[in-house]
């Protein structure tokens, strides 16, 4: 199962990077529906993909591995997601099978 999850996470990571690259362009907005459908297919495999972009980051968040850029390490926000976080749901439990790889940036208040 672990090997299978690893392979699926690799696909999810490629998908994530494709989505991130294409969705920056206004022209490609119509593709978002396709991306949602692929995500739904992942969900049918009990894999829940979450992109934490824009969310708060702190050292208690173990679902992300962060590099902290910028001058401040206070009030951290996730500004870039290199790999999304992936949960595997089985028998009502959530298992974190991939931590998100993110870049967080601090903003001094």
């Amino acid at each position: 199962m672990q090997e299978q999850h690893k392979a699926l996470c690799n696909i999810i990571n490629q998908f994530h990077s494709l989505e991130a690259k294409l969705m920056t362009s206004e022209e490609n907005q119509s593709l978002s529906r396709r991306f949602q459908r692929i995500k739904k297919s992942f969900e049918e495999l009990n894999l829940f993909v979450h992109n934490p972009i824009g969310e708060d980051y702190s050292e208690t968040r173990l679902d992300c591995e962060a590099s902290i850029s910028g001058e401040s390490s206070e009030n951290l926000k996730i500004i870039e997601v290199i790999k999304p976080l992936v949960y595997f749901k089985h028998e009502g439990d959530n298992e974190l099978i991939q931590r998100a790889l993110v870049i967080a940036e601090g903003r001094a208040e």
Partner: protein, 829 residues
Amino acid sequence: MSTTIDYGIDLGTTNSAIARYVKGEVIVFKNPISLKETLPSVVAFKNERTIVGDKAREMLKKSSNNVFGLFKRKMGTSDSYMVGDTGNMLSPIQLSSIILKELKNFIHSEGSTESVVITIPSAFDTVQSNATKKAGYEAGFKEVVLLQEPIAASLAYANKSNLNITDGKWLVYDLGGGTFDVALTAIDDGELKILDHEGDNYLGGTDFDKAIIEQFIIPKLKEKGTFANLETELKTASGKYNRLFYKLMFLAEEAKKELTNSPIAEIEFEVTDDKGDDLDIYLELSKEVFESLIQASIDKTIQLIDAIIERNQISNEDLKCILLIGGSTYIPLVRSRLHEKYGIEINTSLDPTTAVVIGAAYYAGIKPKAKKTATSSATTSLKKGNFKFAYERVVREASTMLLVMAQEETEGLQYRITRSDGGFDSGLLPMSKQITADLPLIPNAHNAFQFNILDSVANRVFVEEIGITQGKFSIDGQPLPNNICLEVDSIESETTFLEPVFKKNDILPLRKVITKQVSKTIYKDSNEEIVIKVFEGDIDSIPAANKLIGMISVSGSSLDRDLIKGSDIELTLEITESRDLKVGAYFTLTDQEFENTFSSSESSITKSVLQTELNSFQTNLGVKLQQLEKDAKYEEAARVVAIDKEINELKSELEGIADDQISDDFYVLDVRKRELGKKMQAVFNTSFLTKTIEDYYEWKETTEFRLIDKEATEQDNAEFKKVVEDEVKFLQEGNITTIKMKINHLLSICRRIAQRTPMTSEDVMMHYLYLKGQKYMARSKANDLIAKGDHALENKNYIELVSVIKELSILKDKEGNSDLFKNKGTGLK
């Protein structure tokens, strides 16, 4: 109770690990939260919180006053570290003891945790060694035994290979993330010892990643775009490319790993240069180029080995092998350069990241304890009743507050809260009489937390399991009183049926996206239509027996192009808490979107709607009755008559109500209408199955007759046998789809035999001539083919004739059963 030392610990400069020898096997414990076998040797302090490992390392570069790593280098010195936020002074021993306590947390096996083997570098002197021992005692271990790292690695090697080494020398080459060590190791009369060692505390894998960025990526970036002060802008915290720098560190590390088993690694990223141009950067880093970047560093390690060899006056031949440990020894250049230079065995049989801790555990497993200690006597349990927990068990927010009240002394205790999926760790915090904590929650899931209290030496003295459900149920969320279903076509039964979208008791608001297929081709500008009907009610009944709560119909006149059978329709259904239904339909093929919102208050049952529906019921029943009487199925026919009678009664009652009457009467009659719909469905289902089984027997007989024909092959006979072999089973099961598939198979066998028979082809062509393309939508194309077939028939050109028949048959298959539904159907399947 074990008589040997309990655990082995690799207390590393950059990473640490803990393992145990159990019945001949070594178990390396994993961090219960991150599930990694290693723990970064980094400690951070934030307010009152102590953070150890990965999360502390993340903060290393940003909060240098409060985050401490590499303190192993200072073991045995009087240097101490001041925590910026609190002004507290911490010694390297205290920081090391925090790492050791955290490693204790990895242990999941039962038994004593009082004795330990801790590894130290071969370069450690007595003071440094004693400092390491002290850290072990401060972490709560009663007995601490030290072991040199190269010896630990050698033990792991010897045990893995089942070697019985009696004498000889070898090198242990340890190239890690940030440090390099090499030790000349020997065994003399069964005693393992370190003869000499060398090292560089600033040489390791991270330097290779930096070399990729500085010597490969940055020059390429400068070629492709306009950048002033690129290095500074990347590396300084205020630099505009600082964010990119961290991404490049990740990409460089990935590329380095890729090059261990591939000749080329791809590096791809986007950047906007100083002129504002967006650049899509794609670089290929070859193994040769990478090796040229790290060549000097590898050469430096070789110089250090040479120094050892020269100092000890030994030759290469005196060495049995070079044992590789440390993650950076995966790099092929390391292996090839060492082999080239020394011409001896380069041993890579160990996992380079855990070799030292495995060796430490082997040593612990054979080293008797110096003194006997009572099992787990240090662990004192706190009384459950002395701690009160308050939290909401069901919440809709993204996080919730936990309140803990202690009714006993908390001095010197710490607490820690973790979430079972591994997504949250509060870190170590001082326990007090009253604490509050904000717990982040996974949406729409049950979140299991563990609240632990630890004593001063990290023994767990109290555990409380906390379960919180997010989003599922709440006093604010209303349950859905009935199923919400979508009406779709059933090709098998030539009717429509309901497919569930949301189930009864699902909590509002709800949203779902489902993909369906178009069941019939809708031509642009035609009057054909796709009807999306959403019903509320019983899934097992026919649509008419339920309440229609929303409908979108899209006719050919609204389409930008033909909507081909089988293409996708993406339906989005949303129900708000106030029960507004929003239905959206997106046609993938035409790239068109239609949507409508229906408010539950708009539901209207009028006299005319009810009359129309009841009339429609009677029309269907009339057709069914004729068919049943024709087939002499009098029992079923009687049931149809009874239902028809009830419909007539209902219609009379309906007549008695004024058109504009505002009362519940229409709703009462609507409920009765739906009950009648259910009864109707039962009759239709039974008779359709009977008809399908009859069809099967008819086609079976026809096929048997065809198989007598000389044109029938052995394959046809074999296929027939296969179709009918489990006949009893599939007919008893009564699955209409399966039986239809069997019929289709028989039909295709008959067709095949027929196509091989010239006389039959003539018959078939005569049939087509008779029909004149009426059964085809593409009538003109069909008529062209029929004319061609007529010509072939006249000239007795059977090859041409068979070809034309085949083309006509394919054309019909492509068009599908567009006239399948006697009623219109929804156009969805």
